[in-house]
Structures are given as C-alpha cells and as structure tokens.
Symmetry: C2
Subunit: 444 residues, 2 copies
C-alpha cells in the first residue's frame, strides 16, 4: 500500500479510473452478475421483506427519480435503492464473493441503477460504476478481513456501503475530494450484524447498504464535510469494527479486479448441497442416462454439512432445500433445482424421487473441502458412474453465462430472461434506462 490511506485510494479509483482500461473479462463478469441480480430481484419481489420495505417507501412517496420494482411509478433514488436492495437479497440466491465473504451485487447495483436512472446515464456508465462499486466492496472487505466478519459484522452490509457509495459517487460525477467525504460519511453510517441471519434483517442489509451509498454521495455533492480518512483514521470504521487493516487489500487497485472471482448460486436450496448437485448433474445430463436404472447413490461431503442439510426424508418444500437425499434424486431425475417453485411440499412425495431418495447414502469425509463433493452412482446393470465437483474451481466464462441464463430463465421465464440478457449483453451501446424498463420500471 502506498502512503495514501485507503479512503483516498478508493476515492481516486472510484471516480478517477478510466473505464476504457477495465479488463474485458471483468466487464463480462459484471454483465453476468447484472443478469443474475435482475432475475433474483424479480423473483424475490413477493417475499415478505420485499413487500414490507416497498410498503414503507411506497407510503413515503416522493420525487419520481428511480423505479422501485414492484411499485408503479418512481420514487426518490435513496428509497429505490433501499427497496430494490432488500428485494434482491430476499431469496439469498444472489452472487457471493468468498474472498471477502459478502454478496457484492445486492448492495451495489440497486444504488448504481437508481442513480443511473435519475441521471439518465448511459449503459456504459452504469456498467463501469457497478464494476467500480463491487470492486470497492471486495477491496474494502479485504482490508477489513476475516476478523471483521468473525466479530459479527455482515460484510454485505458494511463493505457493501462503501461499494454503493463508490458507484453512486462515480455516476453523480463527484470530485475525488467529495468522494472521500462520501466514503467518510459511509464510515459512520455503515452497519449490519450477522446475528440477524435467519431474519428479515439479513436481506434488509443489502437495502441499507445501497441506500447509504446514495445518501452519502448525495450529501457529499452538496459539500457535506465528513472524515476524508474515515475508514482508516484513529477510531475510524476499520479500527472500531475490528478490521484487520490488511495492507495488501489495495494491491493493483484499478488494474486487476478481484470481483472477477465472484460465485453464483445455481440451485434454489441450501448452499451445502450445490457441489453434490453439480457433480450429479454432470452424470444426469448425459444423453443416455436413465434415472430409472439407478440402483444406488453414494455422496461424500465435508462433515460440517451433515449438521446443515442432511434431512433424509423431507416432508415440506423448506425441508427439501436442506436434504441431500431428495435434492440428489432431483438432480438425477433432471428436475430444475434452479426454480423456486420446485421446492414445494408435493415434490417430497413424487414416487420416482422417493425411490431415488431412499437409495442415497451420505458420507461425511474430512478429506473433502466444504466447497466440494464426490459422488458414485450405481446402475442396475452393475456399472458405476463416478464424479466430483468443487465450487471453488474456475468456470469458463461462456459456461458461466450459459448457466446464469438458464438460472434466469428458471426464475423469470425464457422471455423475460432473454430480454434482460439482450440488453445487458449490449449495455455499453444502450441507455441504462432500457435495463430499468426491462425490469418492469414504468415511466411517469
């Protein structure tokens, strides 16, 4: 790290970096995350937390600046960021960055999208601001480190606030000095506790972070004076929030994008089942595979997951999400595990799945990491099919985008998913408003 403090470095990157220098692969990953965010946000609009936050901003009303998806008309950008952020994390089905342990897109994109719509920004500006924002979240998250997370802070909310601020500052055309004050304001506004996991507080955190970003950038644009070194100063955000102050977190800032390693969820069930489902899908998707010919299945996973998602005979849709046996049966039978609607009570009774389910043996195996799985499928013919998968393995971009498009189609239907991708894949040649309209925002 140079002599400059992190707040100054991030501010310089946020509003000073030339988007023309951003690597094409980083922009491509950002486009994939935009599609994924769009689909999980739309699919999450009817969740209780989404409805409640939308009710609040709906009753508050206000100047029509940005779309609150699920409401008619527009609302102030700050309100749109709050509501759209909460909705997009409601299903907990959005992207994850394991290195900083947070969900970058749900905190940043709602802020960027709201300001882009308000400011009638180009799609290119939206994409660059989004990328700057998620990269800021990853870098600040890395600076805070695992000590921050282990102490009980939810990085999606805390680092996410800085990411949302960076994105908003760039789209609003703030100076570097104003951006430092915006980040300093985010330092005293950022909050969010892991102890809210399992409650509506968790998805609300994404909205909080996004709204914090819009608010901080807006006030800074008026000349608001905060701490221009608010992250790293004595008793600043990092010190008070048990940040590790990792010195290498800013290495190559602006040249490399750590966000490129972001991960996606492709199944609407517990993350602990995903490696198994990927491994079995590789077998089940073979053209000549016949689930009716299976006579036994053995899956090996890290033992920590046995306490999380090993319900042997699930009876409800919710229990099904935490069942290795039934989700394994689904993967072999070609059931769409990306679709939310798959996980209902009825599927727990489907005879062909129950038959497969009862053939599954789950083995805890310390030799397997918690992102991996090994599977063996025994056929009645006596043949044995074996495979494995590690969620940590890099996925080729084209494969990733195909999987994201398939997931989006499962969530919102082929037509909507295709329409969204058509715009996002060409976002740099279109106005940001086209994405807003495709997401259902209406002009008033």
């Amino acid at each position: 790290m140079s002599q400059k403090g992190i707040t100054e470095r991030i501010a310089g990157f946020a509003v000073g970096a030339d988007g023309a220098d951003f690597p094409e692969n980083a922009k491509a990953v950002a486009r994939g995350s935009m599609l994924d965010w769009s689909a999980v946000m739309l699919a999450g609009l009817d969740e209780p937390v989404s409805r409640m936050v939308r009710q609040m901003v709906g009753e508050d009303g206000g100047t029509p600046e940005a779309s609150v998806f699920g409401l008619d008309g527009k609302r102030p950008a700050r309100a749109a960021a709050l509501a759209n952020g909460a909705a997009s994390h409601a299903l907990d089905y959005d992207d994850t960055h394991f290195a900083y342990v947070g969900h970058p897109s749900v905190a940043v994109l709602p802020a960027a999208l709201a300001i882009a719509e308000k400011k009638r920004a180009s799609g290119a500006d939206l994409l660059e601001a989004f990328l700057v924002g998620v990269e800021t979240a990853c870098r600040v998250g890395g600076f805070l480190g695992s000590s921050h997370y282990q102490h009980g802070f939810h990085q999606t909310a805390t680092s996410g606030s800085f990411g949302a601020t960076a994105a908003a500052a760039r789209l609003m055309g703030l100076s570097q000095e104003q951006t430092r004050h915006a980040l300093g304001l985010a330092a005293t506004r950022a909050s969010g506790l892991k102890s809210q996991f399992g409650t509506m507080g968790k998805p609300f955190h994404a909205g909080i972070a996004a709204a914090n970003g819009v608010e901080a950038a807006t006030l800074a644009s008026f000349g608001f004076i905060s701490r221009p070194d608010g992250i790293e100063c004595e008793q600043g955000f990092a010190e008070t929030h048990v940040g590790a102050a990792n010195r290498d977190a800013l290495a190559d800032l602006g040249r490399t994008f750590r966000f490129e390693n972001v991960s996606y969820k492709y199944h609407a069930c517990c993350h602990g089942t995903h490696a198994v489902l990927e491994a079995l899908a590789l077998i089940g998707n073979e053209p000549d595979f016949d689930a009716g010919a299976v006579s036994g299945v053995t899956i090996h996973v890290n033992p920590r997951w046995l306490r999380v998602c090993d319900i042997a005979e699930p009876e409800t849709g919710l229990e099904a999400k935490f069942s290795y046996t039934l989700t394994a049966a689904m993967a072999l039978a070609g059931v769409d595990t990306a679709a939310l609607a798959t996980f209902d009570d009825a599927i727990c009774q489907r005879p062909d799945l129950v038959r497969l389910r009862d053939m599954v043996t789950v083995v805890g195996d310390d030799a397997i990491t918690d992102t991996a799985a090994a599977v063996q499928v025994q056929l009645a013919s006596g043949a044995m099919l074996a495979g494995g998968f590690d969620l940590d393995d890099a996925v080729p971009l084209a494969v990733q985008q195909d999987k994201l498009r398939a997931k989006a189609a499962s969530l919102v239907g082929d037509a909507v998913a295709d329409g969204l991708w058509r715009i996002i894949s060409e976002l740099e040649n279109r106005p940001a408003a086209e994405l807003v309209e495709a997401l259902g925002g209406r002009r008033r």
Copy 2:
C-alpha cells in the same frame, strides 16, 4: 436484572409503562428539555449541515406527514426525523447526559415529534413517548457503558437509535412483540463514530438515530421480523460494539428516571468555560456590582482545560468561544453569553471587555474537577469577591427552567420563547400539533 433480556425489558417499558405512573419531576425535566431542544433546533436551522440534510429531504419530497422545520410543507416522518435531528445538534448546544455520555433529546424528540404529528397524537402522548425514549437512550447507554464510548462509538447515535425506536413504537401503538423486533432492527441499523467529531458527521448522527427509530418502528408495524433479542444476543449490538453489558443499567426501570439528571449548556461557547461563567455570573449579577471597579480576576480550573479554551487574546468570534479571559470579562460585564450572535469578531475589540480580559489570570489546579471552577474578583477598593461553581451540582427545577427560558429567549427572541413555553408547559392539555405549529411547521 431479571431473567428477561434487555431488549424484552426495554420493549415492555417502552409500550407497556403507564404514563400516569411517571414521576412529576421527570415530566417537568422533559418539558425543560423540549423547550431547550426547540430553541437550539430553531437557532441551528441555518447551519450548513442543517441546510444540506434539508436539501436532500426537500428534493426527495414525499407524503406530507411531518414538518421539516425550515422547509414549507410536510415530508414523510422518516425524512422529518432525519432533517430535524441534524438541525437540532448542529450547534452542539443541546442537552447532555453525562452518565451515559450522550445527547438524548436530539436523537429522540425529532422521531417522537414526527410520529406525533403524523398520528395527530395528544401532547400528553408526545410527552410520555419522549420521556420513554430519552430514558431508553440513558438505559441502553448505561448497559453499553464507557467501554463502548471509549472504543469510538458515539452514544448519541447508537443508544439514541434505541431511544428513538422506543418513542416511535409507543406513539405508533406497537405491541411489545413488535417493539422487540423494532429494537432488534435498530440493533443492526445503529451506527455513529466519535472520529466524526469536528465534522458535519457529528450533528448528522442525531438525525440518523431519529430516522432509524422511525424506520424501525414503521417496519415492525408491518410485521418485520428481526432479532427480538438484538441488543444482547450472541454477536448482537452490545457484543459487537464493545458494550460492557452492565447488569445494573435496568434497575428500577419504569420507576426511576435517570434522564432527570440531564444537563444543559447555558453559554454558546466551549463547555470548559461554563463553570467559570456560572461562578462569575453569581458575582456579576449582584445588583450593586460594577464591572468598572474590577482591578483583577483569578480563575482556577482543572488543568485539562488549559489545552482547550485558554486563548488569552482572541481576535475572532470562534476564538472568543475558547477564551477564558474574554468570556470571563463578558460574564462580569453582563454580556449575554447564551446568545450565538454575541460571539463575533467585533466583541473581541470592545474596550471595556479588553480592559477586563487583560486582568484575568487563569490557574490550572488539579484539586478542581473538570466540571468545577473557583474564582476571585479583586476590586479597586481593595475588597475581594470569591465564588465557585460545579456543573455537576443539582440545580433546583425552578432555577433550571428559568435559565432554560432565558437561554431560549437569547436564541430565538422573547416572543417565540414565551410562545413555545406556553405550549410546552401545558403540553398535557394540548394536541402535539400545537407545538409543531409554534415551531414554524405549516399545515398543507
């Protein structure tokens, strides 16, 4: 502390306590704080931080629920709480509770007033909710303790969020269960760092806390589920924010009101000068005292203040605020040190004050606490007048209210101050809207 956790205890107090049981003295102190808050808020409306937050909520617009003082028309209650909270702490001239190290009224009253206006509450309900809110801030502040403050958190913002939530929950008629979730939501939303002191971030904290309270209570009224033990649970607010979890902080909750010990600032200059000014005013206010007959002044203060407010020959209004010599001269000459306008550059050159100023000797004295001062005034006649004052000494209620009325008159003029006091002193027989109207809120 009983077996119940603090979140449950506070919720029970906030919405379950019968206002008829509240001690008359506590209500009288609350009325004094309401007058003081009103005057410092009105006097702070033109400060830059007030204007900027008002600009943001003004541009956001929205449903006319509650008055944003300084703006025409009403705005959503959440926005009014944010703007009015920031304005009321802009001058840093509001009440202080030393036991919990925070400013209770600026976090709580903006929330209570906004909800009371929205809900057309009675003045009695407003007064009770305000008292419940400030008492909650004091109790949660005591629970978190000095470890929380020393670590870098600003109690006005953090404990204030819980106080604002309690007040809003009571005025909105939430159930105890809903109030627990509202407090749990405040636990993941509360923020505010001492490292912002000296910036606009500090006054903004009061607005943040007030708005957090309105938001948390509003969402909880829709059924929002958070942690019903969010303050004390594992990795909850207290544990993550270095709270001491003081077990005695809830003793006699609902029967005694720690808020009764709140302190006020009566001089528009550095807090370090206040004990001196009170001691000298006791001498200077004697009917036959003649400042022209003074030939020497010696003041004894705790040595820590010599690094803070001992500018011997101030040349600007700002320097005058940090000058023992000149403020002492003002007190002897009968200058109104409560008025903001007193502290301009011109007063530094007033000949009678400069003559007195140059006679003042300031002595650091370890035997004197940092809330006290001892003074000696030498007269040309050879007589010596001696006195002292300790800001920690209890002030009789009638004296306190007279001083608060005089301060309010200095800040907003006799007519406005009298009008405010007429309403506040009889608040239990009037609708809350009358106070709002007296503060300049207009009906739309």
